[in-house]
């Protein structure tokens, strides 16, 4: 990659500057990012084409441009849902990368540490009471934050040992799930069923309003995320070394943790619990880039890719029955978690 500025004497990195801004580009990360982006585009086109009426890829592209006989099917029926899947995946991927980086633990992800279940519980409460649907998002957010805080507090004991943290998360998740179920059983039948479907994690029937709710906070958080990309490098260091460099480790970790939980709770508030995407996306990106910690941008795209592909399979594999995308990600994610456990040095 030639950028016209003197290249940095570090292997695999290039310094690029545009006006007053200067970036350090990692060659491999950039290549992986572009590759994932291309794969995601292919998956989107495929997903737009497959369904009760098949639309050939070329026609999909034409329909996206507003041309040809399939404009309605592609643009109005299929595209909104896929946009939501993309956004949800992006948020989950980012959240997973942040959580894994700050806890230095490849097993950390919003659904393993109880964020999903906390958000799900709060959402169930909203659905089974008279509060309007407008409260769903804020409550889910609060529920996710509360559950995460609980897990952090409970597992803190002279620091945050990775596995104790994960196991406490699992326990909190189980208890929250049980509470949710009690609420569903106690609620009136229709509300209960609505909550149950919602909890399974699905993007069916969602569209631009949901996508907007997700995209606006993402844009607001973008500067923080850009900063986080650099901040995470020092957080991944040994605590003592980082402190020696003048970094306020605990505050920084706390801030990044809150951002991660907010991102995940937002995604869950719109699409329900889509399991394992955050876990898998961050790990996938980290392995592809061969970085020490999950790279943010690549994790985001990987999350979007995984969600769109999982939704495509869930939608079409057993047609006309549509599986909730969350069921599919759980079936695929469990073995992946097992594989991580077997491979990983403790």
């Amino acid at each position: 990659m030639k950028t016209g500025v003197p290249s940095y004497p570090v292997a695999g990195r290039v310094v690029a500057s545009a006006g007053p801004l200067t970036f350090v580009l990692r060659r491999r990360a950039a290549a992986v990012f572009l590759l994932l982006l291309a794969l995601t585009a292919v998956a989107v086109v495929l997903s737009l084409g497959v369904g009760s009426t098949f639309v050939a890829p070329a026609d999909v592209v034409r329909a996206l441009a507003g041309d040809g006989p399939f404009t309605v099917v592609v643009q109005d029926l299929r595209l909104p849902r896929i946009v939501v899947a993309l956004t949800v995946g992006t948020l989950l991927g980012l959240s997973g990368a942040l959580l894994q980086a700050i806890s230095r633990n490849p097993l950390a992800s919003p659904d393993v540490i109880g964020v999903s279940q906390g958000a799900g519980f709060a959402a169930t409460v909203v659905m089974s009471t008279d509060l309007g649907a407008a409260w769903l998002g804020p409550f889910a957010l609060l529920g996710g934050l509360a559950a995460a805080t609980l897990v952090f507090t409970l597992s803190w004991r002279y620091g945050l040992a990775a596995r104790r943290f994960v196991l406490c998360g699992i326990a909190v998740a189980l208890a929250t799930k049980a509470l949710t179920e009690i609420f569903i059983v106690g609620a009136d039948a229709i509300d209960g069923q609505r909550a149950q479907i919602w909890l399974a994690g699905s993007v069916a029937g969602t569209g631009y309003p949901e996508a907007r709710i997700l995209l606006i906070p993402l844009l607001v958080l973008l500067p923080v995320l850009l900063w986080a990309g650099r901040a995470m490098d020092t957080t991944a260091l040994d605590d003592g070394v980082a402190r020696g460099l003048g970094v306020r480790v605990t505050q920084r970790r706390l801030l990044l943790g809150v951002v991660a939980v907010v991102l995940a709770a937002l995604a869950i508030s719109q699409a329900g619990a889509v399991d394992f995407v955050a876990l898998a996306a961050a790990q996938l990106a980290r392995r592809l880039v061969r970085a020490g910690r999950p790279p943010l941008a690549c994790s985001a795209v990987a999350g979007a890719l995984l969600t769109v592909v999982a939704d495509l399979i869930a939608r079409t594999a057993f047609a006309p029955v549509q599986l909730p995308v969350g069921v599919l990600t759980a079936v695929l994610g469990g073995p992946y978690l097992l594989w991580l456990l077997v491979r990983r040095t403790p």
Binding site: R163, L167, I182, L328, V331, L337, L338
Partner: protein
């Protein structure tokens, strides 16, 4: 620890169990006064109370006793076998293996009755247990408590996902499975209890048979060998007993967590580490816990019922956190 004290604990547990059984027979959407319960139990008549008692609450209570005893004993066996304080049929993924076995029995082999389910449940439990243990043993730090628990939880997540997936796709299976109602004691005919009992009894007899062997193994394999124990045979017998108990319990009531986790710890606290005593106390308190959870589930959001497995999860999760926080058991 003195035998007198242990006997006192045993007697106290028995009284507690009797009280819970009475409560389980009396409580529900139509309450029956305990005095009346005893009267109708001894002399069935044509009253509504008698019909409710004999057709609904007696089978439910018997199944609760059988499943609670089975799960608690399975927990004792698993914790002894793996030397792991976090071992539990649910956490180790054995329960979800059993439920997948049951779903396979319904979906692939068209089974419709419990006698068919049970064997599939046991087979599923055996496969899942072996898988989790083999997998955890392959990790860098061996089958350590937390690794085993994490591997089991991960397997539980994906097997549960498969079960839900199959149920979403196949309406007929869903209908039967719903009837089988996961993690619940309600709505089962008395025959279910009769079919499960032989499995439970044989599992529990096996468990008591190897109790002495497990005491020896707790001292380390070499010491056990020095004491003249056949370590391999003790392990195998205990594993078979644990799997039979879990498989039959899940086939009867679906996966119910935490009974097997909490009870052995409680029992050890009360009567010390001898497995024979721990098993005896667990045998009495396991049904007490499960029936208690079932009764709470009946009254917490009337007129609906919450599954017993949900209440045990709610009670058991704080317990799991407590165990995890105790640094001694979990160092990793």
């Amino acid at each position: 620890m003195r035998t007198n004290r242990r006997l006192a604990v045993l007697a106290g547990s028995a009284v507690l169990l009797a009280a819970t059984v009475l409560l389980s027979l009396a409580a529900g959407s139509r309450g029956i006064a305990p005095g009346h319960v005893l009267q109708v139990l001894l002399r069935p008549d044509d009253s509504d109370a008698s019909a409710i008692l004999w057709s609904l609450r007696v089978p439910r209570t018997i199944i609760g006793i059988a499943v609670g005893a089975g799960l608690a004993t399975a927990g004792v066996l698993m914790q002894a076998l793996t030397r792991n304080p976090l071992a539990d049929p649910r956490i180790m993924g054995v329960s979800s293996g059993a439920s997948l076995g049951v779903v396979a029995a319904i979906n692939i082999f068209g089974m419709t009755t419990l006698p068919g389910y049970i064997w599939f449940g046991v087979a599923g439990a055996a496969l899942a247990g072996t898988f989790v243990y083999a997998l955890a043993a392959r990790t860098r730090d061996g089958a350590s408590p937390v690794t085993l628990a994490l591997a089991g939880t991960a397997l539980d997540a994906s097997l549960t996902g498969v079960v839900i997936g199959v149920l979403t796709v196949n309406v007929k299976t869903f209908d039967q499975y719903r009837f089988w109602a996961v993690g619940s004691l309600s709505g089962r005919p008395i025959e279910v209890a009769l079919w499960v009992l032989p499995f439970m009894v044989s599992g529990i007899v096996l468990a008591f048979g190897v109790a002495g062997g497990l005491d020896a193994i707790a001292l380390g394999d070499d010491v056990a060998r020095g004491l003249g124990r056949n370590v391999g045979r003790v392990r195998l017998t205990a594993a078979v007993a644990a799997i039979v108990l879990t498989g039959a319990a899940v086939a009867a009531a679906g996966p119910i967590g935490f009974v097997g986790l909490a009870l052995p710890h409680l029992a050890r606290g009360l009567v010390g580490a001898h497995h024979r005593w721990v098993m005896a106390v667990s045998l009495l308190l396991g049904p007490t816990l499960l029936l208690g959870a079932d009764v709470i589930g009946r009254v917490v959001v009337p007129p609906a019922e919450v599954r017993a497995g949900i209440i045990t999860a709610l009670v058991g999760a704080p317990f799991l956190i407590l165990l995890v926080r105790r640094g001694r058991t979990v160092t990793a």
